[in-house]
Amino acid sequence: MTELLKVTGLSTHIGSEKKPLKPVDNVSFCIEKGKTFALLGESGCGKSLTALSLLRLNPQPVSRVVAGAVELAGEDLLALSESDMEHIRGRRIAMIFQEPQSSLNPVLTVGQQIGESLQWHFKMRGKALHNRIINLLSSVGIPDPHQRFKDYPHQLSGGMKQRIMIAIALAGEPELLIADEPTTALDVTIQAQILDLLKEIQRETQMAILLISHDLAVVAQMADDVAVMYAGQIVEIAPREQFFKQVKHPYSKKLFESLPTAQKRQHRLTVIKGNVPALDKVFNGCRFVERCEFALPHCSTVVPGWHKDDEQSVRCHLLEPGQNSIVKVNSQKLMASLFKEISVTEKPVLILDKLRVHFPIRKGLFQRIVGHVKAVDDVSLVLRPSETLALVGESGCGKTTVGKAILQLVPITDGSVKYKEIVLNELSAKQLKLGRKGLQIVFQDPYSSMNPRMTISQVIEEAMISGMDSNNAVMRAEKVNSLMERVGLDAKQKHRYPHEFSGGQRQRICIARALAAEPNVIICDEPTSALDVSVQAQILNLLRELQKELKLTYLFITHNIAVVDYLAHSVAVMYLGRIVEQGLREEVLQSPQHPYTQALLGAVPQLDNNKSKQVIRLEGELPSPATPPKGCHFHQRCPKVMPQCLENYPEQTQITDSHQVRCFLY
């Protein structure tokens, strides 16, 4: 095997010389030619900075590479001059980023942006340049490259933009591609397309890939070798098969255990206690010691060395000869704390009947309405008490709008929202205040869903003041305390401001705020998608506890199928404003009927990709809800399309009592 990139003892520091943050601390690994090396870790553990440091693109002047060597085929990149580096970047090592939206220049056409690299590295001009660009565009699977050549980034969808980014990276015919969370911002169906594309390109060009990801499943699909990073250090390196067969470091183990799956439905998810340690201190022992359940006495005083077992290296004292505690690690697999399945009563608490939300598109001087974006088009749902209904779909399919429409936060065009026999959309603004008290919402981004200028107690109290149910300040304060303790926060912290809390803690506060209004139904709009896996596990546990205790009903809006499998009782799949399939969880997830559901589930990357089932790969992307296709909305992408699909929208078909689907196949 030929080593392409060899990194030894790389350290990058941020901040003052005296007390620097050390997000990358003595990191060593090597990447072989034509292989994929995955850096796995939660946010803030230094993955991205490691990648940037390789190219010497780490933010200047706040950070600096203080030690180590980066050898690309024997040449030390850290010793090169800046002008020599310009011939490495993009030519021999290329990079693609997480957010394709912000990594393309909006004022240049796609062709110009790809051409830039070709002009610089290969001095290509004229016809040759043009042909090469077209060539690249078609090699990343962009249909109609001659047309797209002249397009601006805003004319392309997210998946297309990421393809363009890959085309730009490929333009230099690099030996190594650094992919920094290349699919995190994309939907699962698009993610599957992009991952396939990367694999295919790798097969053709023998390019090595450094994949940075927090997603175990993506890594399982893509990587040849896996390295787990924690608090600025690599704690475990192993080939993929070995890694997924048996992880050895307690941290990696915990990561696996905190993933929600259907098998763990009865259990509480494992959580990692505490937080990632501050990176500015000097570590005397293992960095994970404070959060490790198996910590030995000398873990906090002696820095663990590497322990090699086959090809798997682990930085942990537990693997020292004489410590047979690895057995212990295995026996304590799941912390058994059973959840009782909640029995769902029949009488519905919330009914959506043929709900439509259309946003007018206005144009011209007099703002005439020229069309409608049909964000939600004929959606009917029934929520029963203590039930969790998961609303699943790709971004842009209108699932968030459904949530907002239930709370009357967006005007409803047609249909009705009935909560406990009251039709909410017929109430006056004043009546609505009381009418929707039982409905609350928890948003996706815990950072933007709290006013940064209010203390936590003010945030939580807001519900009580606007509800005007308790004007007594003492009572309110007591309620805030009990709510904070209920969601697992120290009530003493209530006079702090939101920015002093971590993402998971903030999401707890948001839940406490929703609970303050004493709701029956909580709409959870992707409450965990901005969080790391271990934190996600905490929030999911909390939601389940609360459901059991307070008999809450959840409408869980998400795109994460694993979470649905763990949490939901029933599932509704949405496509372009309409529900294409709904039913109980087992029915929809185990035996999906609609081709879209099948494709969506097939696109979800699996941890064990040994049983490689034949999955349908969806072509293309979600059409615009302003001009939905005639007939079945899905027919353009459907592998089983029939002539009648182009003409009419299918009626609802009952598969079983609880399972409905809208497709002409049935």
Binding site: L434, N451, E462, G467, Y497, C510, R513, A514
Partner: protein
């Protein structure tokens, strides 16, 4: 009835200044109790530039405030009549404090530190012979035995007052260090060392240096101005230093009161347009686009001229000249405010548009909060940093605008001392030969110092309040 030796006069601008002072004091107290509001201000005073500009601005504000306490003194009536009579002239505390400057009026121009007048005059000397000479000044250097001693006299005054300044500085520094040592529970010596090597939490070294510079300047100028005209005299023999000091209040009033007029308009309109959308948004947008397309100077000129006509026709409404001039100043502020709110309004509208869609506003609506409480609890507090930045940035622009408008002739009343009026009169002075340069230079220097300090301050404030800049600092 024992009557006061003066009656207080409350000019309109005085009242507004007191009001503003009250608002500022209240905000300072309010901010002190709120950690998230205090944090950016801490950043401001941690920067050297920040403390320097604050100290300079404080000096200006101090002079301006002294000049804003007005009264009319009694006329010493020999006849002891029943009724008290008061001077028609309105005096301020500043006038009293620098009485010599105000009263030592020469006949006409004289250069800085001059002992003789700038222009020649026919004079009879002792032997009643007519001669065409530069006459001696009444006050400038009048205490000197011979004019040759001038340099020596100036030097000795400087040395004495510098020593005084130094002693005062040492005393103040010792007090400060003592206070800090107590506050942070350090030993006196350690606190002294911290400050000296600049490792204290705030840039106290800079504060002390700046304090030294200010004390030196004030002591020297004060001592020298007793016997000399430090910055010369103007056409009617009035001391230019006196004029420059009096101009400070005019400049500050224009810079601050205008924002007082502008802010309610800009904030209410901007938030209303951004939050309520629909026809309210349309109306407000039309108003400010229309207002923006009228040249501001034209609007100001028209309004000021109209006011002037009114004042000429109704002299009975104004007891003193000062009141009249003050009315015009206030009106100028209002007009400037009315023409300059559009920029801030536009920014606030855009920001509100963004904020109203933010998740915490949605969450608050879901909790059943009313529009008014959302505006008050969520939107307004999150706009205040923009308001803060733009107020500080606008300040220096307005001070300069006053100078330009007065130069054009539509600014403050000609009887009111202002930098603009000083520059206006310099038009003729610059045409003389030799040039009368000191009036213009003094006005320029005082204005420059104020505007520079304000700009530096604005810079630091923007750095501290801008959420984008903030992240870099973290």
């Amino acid at each position: 009835m024992p009557s006061l030796p003066f009656i207080p006069v409350f000019l309109w601008t005085d009242i507004l200044i007191y009001l503003l002072l009250g608002v500022v004091t209240y905000s300072v107290l309010y901010i002190r109790n709120h950690a998230h509001l205090k944090a950016p201000w801490k950043l401001v005073i941690k920067r050297k530039r920040g403390v320097i500009s604050i100290m300079v601005l404080m000096c200006y504000v101090f002079v301006g405030l002294l000049d804003s306490v007005h009264f009319r003194l009694t006329i010493d009536d020999q006849q002891k009549s029943e009724q008290q009579h008061y001077e028609t002239q309105v005096t301020s505390v500043l006038d009293l404090a620098i009485m010599p400057l105000r009263e030592q009026v020469e006949k006409t121009y004289s250069a800085p530190f001059a002992t003789r007048s700038f222009s020649r005059e026919m004079q009879k000397d002792v032997s009643s012979e007519l001669s065409y000479v530069y006459p001696k000044l009444h006050y400038g250097g009048a205490h000197l035995e011979s004019e040759k001693e001038k340099l020596q006299d100036i030097l000795s005054t400087i040395i004495i007052s510098s020593i005084k300044a130094l002693i005062t500085w040492l005393l103040l520094s010792a007090l400060l260090i003592n206070y800090l040592a107590k506050r942070y529970q350090n030993s006196w010596f350690k606190q002294y060392k911290d400050i000296l090597i600049g490792s204290a939490r705030y840039p106290f070294r800079t504060v002390l240096l700046m304090l030294g510079i200010i004390l030196l300047t004030v002591f020297n100028v004060a001592a020298l101005s007793v016997d000399y005209h430090v910055l010369g005299t103007d056409k009617v023999g009035q001391d230019v230093l006196y004029q420059s000091l009096k101009s400070i209040r005019t400049g500050l009033v224009i810079g601050t009161l205008t924002t007082l007029v502008m802010l309610p308009l800009a904030i209410s309109m901007g938030i209303a347009a951004g939050y309520f959308r629909g026809w309210i948004d349309d109306v407000i947008q039309y108003v400010y686009t229309t207002l923006n397309s009228i040249p501001g100077v034209l609007l100001i000129a028209a309004a000021v001229l109209m006011l002037q006509v009114y004042m000429n026709n109704h002299p009975e409404n104004f007891v003193t000249i000062t009141e009249r001039a003050d009315m015009r100043l206030l009106f100028l502020c209002i007009i400037l405010g009315v023409t300059s709110w559009t920029g801030l309004c536009r920014i606030l509208r855009g920001e509100t548009l963004k904020l109203r869609e933010s998740e915490y506003v949605l969450a608050s609506r879901a909790l059943g909060a009313s529009s008014l409480s959302i505006l008050h609890r969520h939107i307004l507090p999150n706009l205040m940093h923009i308001v803060m930045i733009s107020v500080v940035l606008d300040f220096s622009g307005l001070v300069l605008a006053e100078a330009v408008l007065s130069y054009v002739g539509v600014g403050v009343d000609p009887s009111m001392i202002s930098w603009g009026n000083m520059i206006n009169s310099a038009r003729l002075e610059m045409a003389r030969d030799p040039v009368v340069w000191w009036s213009l230079t003094a006005a320029f220097f005082f204005m420059f110092l104020l505007v520079l300090a304000a700009n530096l301050f604005a810079d630091v404030v923007r750095d501290a309040f801008d959420p984008k800049g903030h992240k870099q600092n973290d």
